[in-house]
Symmetry: C2
Subunit: 98 residues, 2 copies
């Protein structure tokens, strides 16, 4: 399992960014190996969004990156934001002490 | 609910960073309002770690930041890494299409 953490700095219209992003998310939700995502927005810097998405494997994620649909979405997103993506693995996790 | 996303760039020893971080996490797990955390490590930049932690409220998180224990942990962490924390709210989330 891999985690994509992608920080977007929005240059243009926030609503346009969220609309384009929602369309891209609908596509991702149909893709093999996609597990889930959360798009976060900074409380102090409203132009900063962070997507945290879980994928079954690096190969699953890379296959989607190579798709025509993703290519179109990322072009639209690049018109209103600057992405900064990277893939991660979880090294430690925890829940409240019972 | 708020999400802390904190990017650490580790300057010193990675094992020391993970050990100190694990101690801090044990403290966080006992705190009111703590819901869960995942510490991620970049697959391409091994010196970059990202903590994504869920808190019931901003007040719960800020109370912990003001605690003596947290003050000690962050001093130790600052000796081996550079933190870049920010608080976020989730604006969109999704799971695979059924």
């Amino acid at each position: 399992m891999v985690t994509l953490i992608n920080t977007f700095t929005v240059k243009g219209d926030f609503d346009a960014f969220e609309r384009i992003w929602a369309q891209s998310a609908e596509f991702m939700r149909t893709q093999k190996g996609f597990i889930g995502f959360k798009l976060h927005r900074s409380l102090s810097r409203p132009d900063v969004y962070v997507n945290v998405a879980l994928w079954q494997s690096r190969a699953d994620h890379q296959r989607v990156l190579a798709s025509r649909e993703f290519g179109e979405h990322i072009k639209e997103l690049a018109a209103v934001s600057v992405p900064d993506p990277d893939l991660y693995t979880v090294v430690l996790e925890g829940v409240p002490v019972q």
